[in-house]
Structure formats: structure tokens, C-alpha cells
Symmetry: C2
Subunit: 193 residues, 2 copies
């Protein structure tokens, strides 16, 4: 996730924590494990990335679940189609990381709930099927998006406009170069001969 440059990070938890209160209340004494993971971690970048993902996702998805009864994969499908209408389950899987069977179930349920257009029933699956949000689905998206956007804004309040711009560009660079670094593992893979 990060780079090793003096600090360090542990990484990766579940991408949402359903337990946690995350009320900022005190957190006063105690978490000096957090200090260690922030400032004494061989993987400082990745820890930060995973930790930010956790802090951001958890309350939002809990809220979505409690308010709309949608599980994470379901909302992700909704969100994905809102941004890329006509996308397929495979596209969503590639860009979200959920396995295709999980998405198959999510799509089935969304269809049942009338949040996405009914597909011309293809029993066995067949070939790539373009998915579309229903009006109801789009309405739900429009209703919930502000919360996601607002939380992102709140997350960034510590940064100036210039800093946000910079952060955006740096993260973009890394993502764009993903073809060159992602998927190289297992580590033992050695040189590409």
C-alpha cells in the first residue's frame, strides 16, 4: 500500500467492520498499537490505505444496510451501474474485487427488488449481459450518493485544495501504473524469464 520510507504499516482488514463503534469519543489511552502501525511499520503506505478504507467504508455501509437493507455487494452493483450503465457482472467483479458468484446473487436480489432492470431471463447465464439501473435504482443511488461524497469531503478536510489536488494526482499515478505492479505475485515468481 505505501512505500517504505521510514514508517510502516500492517495491512488489510475486512473492508468494513460491522462491529466497531468508531465513535471518536476518546480512544484516549490504549491504541499505541495504532501508533506502531503508523510510525513503525515496514509498509506504511499500505497500512494507511487499508486503514483509511476501513474508516471510510464502515460507517457508510452500515448506514446503507440499516437504512435500505442492502448488503455491500448489492450496493456496489448499484453504484457501479450508476457510473457505468450497461456494465456486466464481470466488469463489476474486476473493479470491485467481489467474486462473480457473490455478484450473481446480488444482481438477482436487486432485480427482485426492482432496483435494476429485469434481464431477458437467461437460465444458464450465457454470454455477457449488460445491466441497467431501474428508475427506482437510480433514485436510490441519487439519494445515497451525497452521504458518500460528503464523507469523502469530511475525510479530506485536513487538506488544502492544493494538497487534495496533489493527493489525487499521486494516487492516480499509482493506479494508472497498476499494470506494471499488480498481480506480480506470488513473490517467488522471480524474474520474468
Amino acid at each position: 500500500m505505501l512505500l517504505k520510507q521510514g514508517i510502516s504499516a500492517d495491512m488489510s482488514g475486512p473492508q468494513t467492520a460491522c462491529d466497531q463503534d468508531f465513535g471518536k469519543p476518546d480512544n484516549g489511552p490504549g491504541p499505541d498499537m495504532l501508533e506502531a502501525k503508523l510510525w513503525d511499520n515496514p509498509c506504511p503506505f499500505t497500512f494507511r490505505i487499508n486503514y483509511l478504507a476501513l474508516l471510510y467504508n464502515t460507517p457508510l455501509y452500515n448506514w446503507i444496510h440499516d437504512t435500505y437493507g442492502l448488503k455491500r455487494p448489492e450496493y456496489v452493483v448499484l453504484y457501479s451501474l450508476a457510473l457505468a450503465d450497461g456494465g456486466s457482472a464481470r466488469d463489476i467483479s474486476r473493479t470491485s474485487g467481489f467474486p462473480k458468484n457473490t455478484l450473481s446473487r446480488a444482481i438477482k436480489r436487486l432485480e427482485l427488488m426492482g432496483l435494476i432492470e429485469a434481464r431477458s431471463k437467461t437460465p444458464g447465464g450465457g454470454r455477457k449481459q449488460a445491466l441497467h439501473l431501474s428508475d427506482k435504482g437510480r433514485a436510490l443511488f441519487n439519494e445515497t450518493l451525497p452521504a458518500f461524497a460528503a464523507q469523502e469531503q469530511r475525510m479530506l478536510t485536513a487538506l488544502s485544495q492544493g494538497e487534495r489536488q496533489m493527493l489525487f494526482e499521486l494516487m492516480s499515478k499509482v493506479v494508472i501504473a497498476a499494470n506494471d505492479w499488480a498481480g506480480g505475485l506470488p513473490p517467488e515468481a522471480g524474474p520474468t524469464n
Copy 2:
């Protein structure tokens, strides 16, 4: 995850994708859903963060699982204790996002595998218990850490040293300010009166 500043992102998948091949092979045509999530997303920062977490975590945890038979929560416990020896299950939960029952199981198994020191058996749980890696556990950590660190380095190859420094500082700022922005939801919470 991000901020909204012109671009956008959908967010949050499972934090590792066990399916996915992620071989960078082609990905040539097709994923223009990825394009949409990157460049036309109301939450461009959070998408990038979640996507990077996905790309980074997936191959590493798959490798850990295949090579050492450790599941994600188990390895996270190991990693956490390596950085903060004597930490408790609660500390790990707070910093990783895994619920405490999942960690309880993970710890039990690690203990059984001899990777962490046996705790003076406290049936019901009792009060905070400090956990410690065994020599074997530390050896496993030392053996696996390089892969995590190396992958983080590979991830950052697109950035110059100065850019890495900048990225590090920006992410640190956001994390440090977490008390001010995290956990504010549900969104409806309104002003704090």
C-alpha cells in the same frame, strides 16, 4: 476514500479478492467501467484507496494462504503483534477492523499452531490479555514481511522519491485527523446538538 474534486470513484469491495486472476496480461479492451470509476466518480479518492487496497492485498494474502495456510485474520494478528508486541485482541480489532470474535478464533488457532505464546488459560476471557509472538511466529513474520514490503515498493515505482514523501505526508495528515471525520455517520446525525 477520496475526495471529490473532479473525478470520482465507487468504493469498497471485499478487501481481498480470492477469485480474480489479476494477471496483468491484457485487460486490454473491456474495463471501461474502470475508466468510469476512475474519471467520472463522485468519490474519486475513496475509489482509488479501495482499489489500491484490493490490488495490493489480494495477491499477498492469496500467497500467504497458499503457502502457510493462514487466513487473513490470522496473518493480521501475527503482523500486528510483530509491530506491537503485547497488544491485545481489542487493539488488533481497533486497528484492523476485524470483529473480536473473528480475532478470538484466529488467536486460538495461532496459539494451537505455536505461532504465538500460549496464554495462561482464561476460560471465559476475563480481562485484557497481552499477546506475544513465539519464536516460530516471529520467524514466520520475518520470512513473509519482505514480500509485503517489496510489493509496496513495486506499487510505488511510478513515483519519485519526492512524490512518495509527499504521498506519505498527505495520507498521514488524513489519518491523523481521523478523529475529526471518522465515525460521524450515519449521515443523518445532523449537527451535534
